[in-house]
């Protein structure tokens, strides 16, 4: 019996180590490739493509006006841009703020912003996008979130990439910025940093990519052909990415620190937990829904399965962390078994070191400064953060089993805008130029 326990311990340790090594590889994938593969073009082509910007918003009174302003004032011909602010009829607060901003813009001569208000259910982002789809009139659909701090040249970047590389789908970089605002924010920021700068490139190269929820650009006809977004999926972005991949569509990821869309970490642990639960449950839904099975190669299907099932693995890993801590104190194993069971711990340490370097890389790229206390805080938060994510994954499984799939909204307060206030002046300058 004891031998069996040892064998299981060794097997699990080896599997977790292999998985960790693979994750580490994906985390740093892009740093092993020529930088040009990920970067935005250095010279823009003349604007040709037109864009319909879809801005779904719910209870976003605090941030919606600034976001509309940034999109409207981007460095792209206004006649080539249509902005649709999407709200549900019961969200009068956001509607009022959006209409106020639209009025202000019209006074400045910007008349390309419209409201799309829907009344039916479900109340979620994909339904809002589908509701707005018939109103979209331009070549390319661009999806942004209500709190997004977009770069004024993002449409030039996408226009150039789509024209030069003949791709119909582009995923732009999204980056959380406020790495120093809570105990978990640095780790949350790094997740985005590594996901968009590195891992998504690997997915794109293999042709099995769960797209992000914003700064994503589709040729409109593609989405119409696909029948829009899946309204019953909590991660409709990932789902549509896999559907596009299954259809053989080549997807280009552009992460360039000059042009990323800036966002904020969830303001409280509760919001963070709910956001993570939604993502995990969405991945679980996508896994069960099965569009990933239509991917062409076994390698693509494995990658999709691995990615979608990973939140559940994270839940188990969370339990394994607790189990491991218990065995350290209460279980005496042979030295070789104990050595092997330490391999995941060593991978964890390696991953922490890589994250620390990543934090310095991130702040260097964005002209910020990181203090040692942030690194120490990250070290202290490391295990609790993993446990929170594991709990969110377990919560997602519970919700899915109970048939609960309502959209738990993440609140946005504009922390990223406070942190990078210096950029506002530049953007305002851009707006003035555009006007």
């Amino acid at each position: 019996m004891l031998d069996l326990i040892y064998a299981v311990l060794v097997l699990v340790s080896v599997l977790v180590t292999v998985q960790s090594a693979h994750t580490l590889y994906l985390t740093l994938y892009t740093w092993d490739r020529p930088p040009a593969e990920a970067q935005a073009p250095d010279k823009f082509k003349p604007p040709r493509l037109s864009f319909t910007v879809m801005l779904p918003a719910r209870h976003e009174e605090e941030v919606i006006q600034a976001t509309i302003g940034r999109v409207a004032e981007s460095n792209y011909p206004q006649e080539l841009i249509q902005i649709l602010v999407i709200c549900r009829a019961d969200d009068q607060g956001t509607i009022d703020m959006a209409e106020e901003k639209i009025g202000q813009l019209r006074q400045h001569g910007l008349r390309n912003v419209e409201m799309v208000v829907f009344r039916d259910e479900p109340i979620n982002k994909p339904h809002g996008l589908n509701a707005a789809l018939p109103h979209a009139a331009k070549d390319v659909l661009a999806v942004f979130d209500a709190e997004d701090d977009i770069h004024p040249d993002i449409f030039n970047v996408v226009n150039t990439v789509m024209e030069e590389e003949e791709v119909k789908v582009v995923q732009g970089g999204v980056q959380l910025m406020n790495f120093d605002s809570s105990w978990y924010s640095a780790l949350n920021v790094l997740e985005y940093f590594f996901w968009f700068k590195s891992r998504l490139h690997y997915h794109a190269r293999l042709g099995a990519i769960p797209l992000g929820g914003n700064t994503v650009f589709f040729e409109r006809s593609l989405i119409v052909e696909l029948g829009g977004w899946d309204e019953h999926n909590l991660t409709e972005d990932a789902e549509i990415g896999l559907r596009l991949s299954a259809a053989g569509e080549r997807i280009r990821v552009v992460y360039d620190s000059r042009y990323v869309t800036r966002e904020e970490t969830p303001p409280t642990l509760g919001h963070f937990l709910r956001q993570r639960t939604r993502w995990s449950q969405g991945f679980l839904q996508t896994l069960h829904q099965g569009s990933w099975r239509n991917l062409q190669t076994r390698r693509q299907r494995f990658l999709a399965f691995y990615t979608l099932a990973f939140p559940q693995a994270q839940a188990l890993l969370g339990l394994y962390v607790l189990f491991s801590i218990g065995t350290m104190f209460y279980f005496k194993a042979p030295v070789l078994v104990a050595l092997i069971s330490f391999l995941p711990v060593m991978m964890l340490l390696a991953y922490f070191l890589i994250c620390t370097v990543g934090l310095y890389e991130f702040t260097r790229a964005y002209g910020m400064k990181v203090y040692p206390r942030v690194v120490i805080g990250m070290l202290i938060a490391w295990i609790p953060y993993q446990l929170v994510i594991a709990y969110a994954s377990m919560r997602a499984v519970g919700r899915q089993m109970r048939g609960v799939s309502n959209w738990e909204k993440t609140r946005h307060i504009g922390a990223h805008r406070q942190q990078v206030a210096y950029r506002t002046e530049s953007l305002r300058e851009a707006g003035d130029r555009a006007a």
Partner: protein
């Protein structure tokens, strides 16, 4: 009309501190970059010549010369313990060396159809592995020299010394941790040169280096030069922070694992945290105490041996006679490399890397501690590299028509002139005792037959239950082939391993000894070990007493300076 933004993208909107990643390949223009080009036909021929000459010089006469050494026996018996007993040593493992080297030997032996007896004497299995590693190391050295200089002359010169030097052939044939360590060190240097700036190259190079340290700890002296190389190879790359971090992670992983092993065994710290060297703590062995002890061992310096006279003067009696060209030339070349490398470090880090690598191990040897004769092994490829770099630079300044014949004549002299300033003759030829021309000792003199005769005599004349004090070089032969001699132990363990001393030799009672199977080298080691340090004072006295007053010689064989004898203790 919208403003035309296509001609000049409106970069003015970005804060100046926002930086984009620099291009990956914008590295320092060094010879290393030039060396990345493909080998080509001449290069392939040169490489094949280097590999074949390495194979021939090391494999020919391998099982006959040199004599099986004590340390070869120690590592073979520890590999035996890994396979047969699933432990790190058949006796108490005292953390005298990290175990990666004999774990590798064990892995190799496990693959062989006849395990330890695949090639006759068990030590031969280890020696075959050394030849394989030597050929691999030759490849690494060839490529390192090629990538550092961008030409074929330097790799040919470096591998010439590495393959033909008498010093190299003599020591590199032995199944020693140092040879395994050299393999890992050269691999660690080769990897960053092979794929400049690639992310995971840092990890693999670091892992190779970490493995070299847990093979033989003195590899740590290479760390500054290899780290500098990795740093220079990634200096201009956007991924440099990750490459360097990966190198550090890779290098740390094997070392951390070793410390973790000791921790899990409860053997990291000495009992009661006592680091008193004059009164070793009892109870259990300790990694940190052993390290503390090793750091404080001192037997004079390389140039001034200790006053007891028991510590052999290896530099003058063993190393220089075997190859003065390599050692003197290598030292001068190392200094030139360091001088030139320091002044040209911005343009070309190659010289500083080569000089730094050689200096690291030269410093280790010269700094003053216990030195064994085979400790010169890691110096050989790096001195060869330094000589190659300097020769390459010098020969590039003279016309090809002069350079090629010059180098050919020089190599021919070293290979074929039987004396040429060296007491032991040329690399391939020497004069025999009657003045006749003959192949040099490594290809001509049989030595190990004496030890095989000794083992055969033991098997025919000594009962298996006899308590034998012997040397480690025959240990596996007496323990792995049936009938085994379970009470045969080396004098080291009979002296210092409490378990062996107590259970087999009555706690250090001469009357418990039945036979001595020994060489003159073992006798010298016994005398040295009996009183060389405060902690070892008198620990071999009971054996020396039995040998001197109660034993009679029953068998002996003598050849040159080697004397093997078997003594029976008269109770």
């Amino acid at each position: 009309m919208p403003p035309d933004r296509t001609a000049a993208p409106p970069r003015v909107l970005h804060p100046p501190e926002l930086r984009s990643d620099p291009p990956r390949e914008a590295g320092v223009p060094t010879a290393a970059t030039e060396g990345l080009r493909s080998l080509g036909r001449p290069g392939a021929i040169a490489l094949i010549f280097a590999l074949l000459s390495g194979l021939l010089t090391h494999a020919y006469h391998l099982f006959d010369y040199p004599l099986y050494q004590t340390d070869e026996g120690i590592y073979m018996e520890r590999a035996w313990a890994v396979i047969r007993e699933h432990g790190l040593s058949p006796q108490t493992y005292v953390y005298d060396h990290a175990p990666a080297g004999w774990l590798m030997i064990a892995g190799w032996v496990e693959l062989l159809p006849g395990h330890f007896e695949a090639f006759g004497n068990p030590v031969n299995s280890g020696r075959v592995l050394m030849v394989i590693l030597h050929v691999a190391s030759t490849f690494f050295l060839f490529e390192i020299a090629r990538k550092l200089t961008g030409g074929l002359l330097a790799p040919l010169i470096a591998t010439f010394f590495f393959n033909f030097s008498f010093l190299a052939v003599y020591y590199q044939r032995m199944a020693l941790l140092d040879n395994i360590m050299v393999f890992w060190v050269l691999l660690s240097v080769y990897l960053p040169l092979r794929r400049r700036g690639h992310l995971f190259t840092g990890l693999w190079s670091g892992l190779a280096f970490g493995t070299s340290v847990v093979t033989k700890e003195n590899a740590i002296f290479f760390a500054p030069a290899i780290f500098y190389l990795v740093y220079r190879q990634t200096k201009e790359n956007s991924n440099k922070s990750f490459v360097i971090t990966f190198w550090l992670i890779g290098a740390s992983a094997p070392i951390v694992t070793y410390f973790l092993y000791a921790t899990l065994k409860g053997e990291l710290f000495p009992k009661d945290f006592s680091f008193n060297l004059s009164k070793p703590p009892q109870g259990h062995v300790s990694l940190l105490y052993e390290m503390w002890y090793q750091i404080h061992r001192n037997s004079g310096t390389l140039f001034t041996p200790n006053s007891s006279g028991l510590q052999p003067d290896y530099l003058y009696t063993s190393w220089l006679p075997r190859d003065p060209y390599l050692l003197v030339g290598g030292t001068i070349a190392m200094l030139i490399c360091l001088w030139v490398g320091w002044h040209q470090r911005q343009e070309n880090p190659a010289w500083l890397v080569a000089g730094g690598l050689a200096f690291g191990i030269a410093f280790y040897l010269a700094r003053g501690s216990v030195i064994l004769d085979f400790y010169v092994i890691p110096l050989i490829p790096l001195y060869a590299l330094c000589i190659a770099l300097v020769a390459d630079r010098m020969l590039k300044r003279i016309p090809v028509a002069t350079a090629v014949p010059s180098i050919t004549i020089l190599c021919a002299v070293l290979l074929l002139v039987p004396s040429g300033g060296s007491p032991d003759g040329g690399y391939l030829l020497k004069h025999g005792q009657q003045g006749q021309l003959q192949l040099a000792d490594p290809y001509h003199v049989p030595q190990t037959f004496m030890q095989n005769s000794e083992i055969a005599w033991v098997r025919h004349n000594i009962p298996t239950n006899a308590r034998i004090v012997s040397d480690d070089d025959i240990w596996v032969a007496l323990h792995d082939v049936k009938p085994v001699y379970p009470y045969d132990q080396s004098h080291w363990n009979a002296a210092s391993d409490p378990q062996v001393r107590k259970k087999i030799f009555g706690g250090g009672n001469w009357e418990y000894i039945d036979y001595f199977v020994m060489s003159n080298g073992m006798l010298q080691a016994m005398q040295l070990n009996n009183g060389s340090t405060s902690t070892s004072s008198g620990i071999e006295a009971y054996m020396l007493y039995a040998l001197k007053y109660h034993s009679s010689m029953v068998w002996s064989v003598n050849r040159g300076q080697v004397h093997l004898q078997i003594w029976k203790v008269n109770h």
